[in-house]
Symmetry: C2
Subunit: 155 residues, 2 copies
């Protein structure tokens, strides 16, 4: 079964290439498609502090999609782990999920902080962040992932 | 631009229909497609406590996709809000993002707790949950969403 998606909008930002780190200080705008939507589609969204954005890694070519395992960021000091054990962009279906701060809504344009998407990225969905969707119970993760993420959202 | 996805696996669980609440006690298995993957694809995943699962609301028919605004759960006591201001399943592109606890990995079968997906749901992606992807800064949300979520993940 194939699932066909239509982007709901596009990201505009200064970053034209993927950088590994320092997404915390990036301000971007998400432009919802005005052929599909009216501003009603974000009515009430201003009452939420954060958004969860689903987007498409559109610059990743087929040959860069990992179907098995590799070292995160190709760093041999970190263990080789499966593609579903990491959040690398070269993954089956090439979808990203990222939480960012909502700064402003003007019509169909949303201004956000710390969205880790490059300029021109197709946006697939926007959901309001609700605390209840955070993990229930104790959270743990391996050391390599903590090291990898150290400066990712730094300002 | 159309984006074409191929499910990476399927959810098996006792719940055959969407219930509003009490997903906390639901145990499900995610069966990764053995025609696409070997067990290498989840190597190292056991070191994470939680997964972020992207899945497709496959039972939602076109006529139930809201493109504008409506009352969450059609409850007129809650304000009418845009479809991108709520997490309802009848949404453009019909994708869900949900965090669940990882209980067990056996080959290409993952056992998870509190995944809010019904039996037969196509899975699009699995990402390890990393604390650094949680919202940065103060989180707030409107009262209606707190009320709506009160029993959602309850056991």
């Amino acid at each position: 079964m194939d699932i066909v998606l239509k982007p709901i909008g596009t990201v505009k930002t200064e970053r034209e290439e993927a950088f590994d780190d320092y997404w915390g200080s990036v301000t971007s705008t998400i432009h919802l498609d005005d052929a599909m939507f009216t501003p009603e589609v974000t009515m009430g969204l201003h009452e939420f502090s954060h958004l969860e954005v689903v987007y498409f890694f559109h610059k990743v070519v087929d040959s860069k999609v990992e179907l098995s395992a590799r070292h995160p960021r190709n760093n041999a000091e970190w263990p080789k782990v499966g593609i579903f054990s990491q959040r690398a962009k070269g993954r089956p279906n090439r979808l990203a999920v990222s939480v960012c701060r909502l700064l402003k809504i003007e019509g169909l344009t949303l201004t956000v902080e710390s969205l880790d998407a490059i300029d021109g990225t197709p946006v697939i969905d926007i959901k309001p962040y609700m605390k209840e969707f955070a993990p229930r119970g104790e959270v743990y993760q391996p050391l390599w992932s903590t090291e990898l993420m150290k400066d990712y959202f730094k300002k």
